[in-house]
């Protein structure tokens, strides 16, 4: 086991030496990988910010349950018990018909409502489901419609559907972009490693004659590809961070002009780690394919 660590340690050192031995090439490769990855990375971050902005502007989606006018206190209590038992709900509140009338009167409809002899409004529950999944909202609405003394269920999820559709479209676009650019990065690493193998051909031949196994020869190339990818990931992270810093003030000013407070947020620790790990994986993959393809010819 110690030998395994020793051999990997040597391979890492060898890969670092090769990276340091060609600083310009290393820098250019890292920039290519980094700038390419910053596009899907930035896109993902933009979608994340749009989603949180939309949540802030529109508030949480709700379902309104309007009861039958004949519903009594016992019916209200029964529905409340069922709502309490429903795990997909975040919260609910009961709006008695008198309170609803007062709200309308306070809202400027006092003159209109004053002409009425009786309160025409029903008792109601306003329910806030957990999450933002429109399918869950639909299911809850269908369930509640079937409850006794429930006259009408109003699902306030049209905007959620539209938002989800837009965000879904955006995510698909970001995924496609990430896939295409990821493929390009694998090709870039593939070619870099191909050139490395060509320049190291003599060392490979000599090592084989001296008893080097294929894993021994492959290891430094894998590490080279992975480290190059990781460097590219760090450049991507830096590029996204710079973009956020540059856009933060104009976006905040724009939000303020609409009377809102909004701060553009940069990538958090999980997102940052994901970018670097993804870039490292792409580098390793490109190296692995290249080594498999070209080492047999060396």
């Amino acid at each position: 086991m110690m030998n395994w660590f020793y051999l990997h340690g040597r391979a890492i050192l060898q890969a670092l030496r090769r990276l340091a031995g060609q600083p310009l090439g290393t820098l250019l490769s890292a920039l290519v990988v980094g700038i390419a990855l910053s596009l899907p990375g930035g896109g993902y971050l933009l979608l994340d910010n749009v989603a949180s902005l939309a949540r802030g502007v529109s508030g949480a989606p709700e379902i309104s349950l309007f009861l039958d006018k004949e519903a009594g206190a016992a019916d209200v209590a029964l529905i409340e018990r069922r709502l309490r038992a429903e795990p997909a709900l975040a919260s609910y509140r009961f709006v008695p018909r008198d309170e609803a009338l007062h709200q309308l009167q306070r809202g400027g409809l006092g003159d209109v409502l004053g002409g009425l002899t009786a309160n025409p409004l029903p008792d109601a529950f306003v329910v806030a489901p957990r999450g933002e999944d429109p399918a869950v909202f639909e299911r809850l609405a269908q369930t509640m419609k079937a409850w006794p003394r429930v006259a009408h269920v109003q699902l306030d999820s049209a905007w959620v559907k539209r938002l989800h559709a837009l965000l879904g479209l955006g995510r698909s676009a970001v995924l496609m972009l990430a896939g295409l650019l990821g493929f390009a990065l694998v090709i870039v690493t593939f070619n870099t490693i191909r050139l490395q193998i060509l320049t190291q051909r003599q060392e490979i031949e000599v090592s084989r004659l001296l008893g080097a196994t294929d894993p021994f020869i492959r290891r430094p190339f894998y590490w080279f590809g992975g480290l190059q990818g990781a460097l590219g990931g760090l450049v991507a992270l830096g590029t996204v961070w710079l973009g956020v810093q540059a856009l933060a003030a104009p976006v905040a000013a724009l939000a303020e002009s609409y009377g809102a407070v909004f701060a553009l947020s940069g990538p958090g620790l999980p997102e940052s780690a994901a970018i670097v790990v993804f870039a490292t994986f792409l580098g390793w993959l490109g190296a692995a394919i290249s080594v498999r393809r070209h080492l047999a010819e060396a």
Binding site: L7, V206, S207, L209, L210, G211, A212, T213, D214, F216
Partner: protein
């Protein structure tokens, strides 16, 4: 022990380098393989570390049939052989020390022990204190000594050298021949191919002579062409 049994090597295109060669080299022997250019010496030498495979027949090294050795097992065979080739095949971007160290790095030797072994190997070939130099700064004979140090650093039981004196001046060539003799005296089985068997005459080695892909002479009974 090295055993060749009816070994034939035919290259694509029909050229037959070896046409049925059989011999046996016992542990601790010093054997000089000679013959004119194209006699099949290099092909024979390449069959031992499985740089080539025979078309038919069997090659055995220490009892193991290497003719059909799986590819993944070849490195482990080579680690037990000391190989010296016609060109020194040194890495010119590394120091002499690092070149000699390479077989020990491959086998994952602890660095401190490896450094001791490298120093001992360089001393053995008369290059002590030259470890920090680059091979390009050494003479042809010194470069070949580095290659020999690299071949012996793993303490192999068999040392194989293909024309190790081919590009050397006579003085250097005699020095290299003396080195091989000294390794043999230390118990290492040595097989050296050369077009100039007289270099080793003083050691009274066993001599194998190849001609047109066949073994035409074995031991002192055959007069070696100088």
């Amino acid at each position: 022990m090295i055993v060749f049994d009816q070994v034939v090597k035919r290259y694509p295109g029909g050229y037959t380098a070896l046409a049925g060669v059989s011999f046996e080299i016992r542990h601790g022997e010093l054997v000089v393989l000679s013959g004119h250019s194209g006699a099949g010496k290099s092909t024979l030498m390449k069959l031992i570390p499985v740089m080539e495979r025979p078309t038919s027949g069997t090659v055995r090294i220490n009892g193991q049939d290497v003719s059909h050795l799986p590819r993944r097992a070849i490195p482990y065979l080579r680690r037990n052989l000391g190989l010296v080739l016609q060109e020194s095949r040194l890495l010119y971007d590394r120091s002499v020390f690092d070149n000699v160290m390479l077989p020990l790095v491959i086998t994952g030797h602890p660095p401190r022990d490896a450094a001791r072994r490298v120093a001992a190997a360089l001393e053995r070939v008369g290059l002590d204190g030259r470890g920090k130099e680059r091979p390009a700064g050494l003479s042809g004979g010194e470069q070949q000594r580095v290659a020999i140090a690299r071949a012996i650093v793993n303490r192999p039981s068999i040392l194989i050298a293909d024309e190790p004196t081919a590009h050397l001046d006579p003085d250097y060539a005699h020095d290299i021949a003396d080195l091989f003799r000294s390794f043999n005296e230390a118990g290492v089985t040595v097989l050296v191919s050369t077009h100039d068997a007289s270099l080793f005459a003083a050691s009274r080695p066993r001599r194998l002579v190849l001609g047109k892909g066949l073994l035409v002479g074995d031991d002192v009974a055959v007069e070696v062409a100088a």
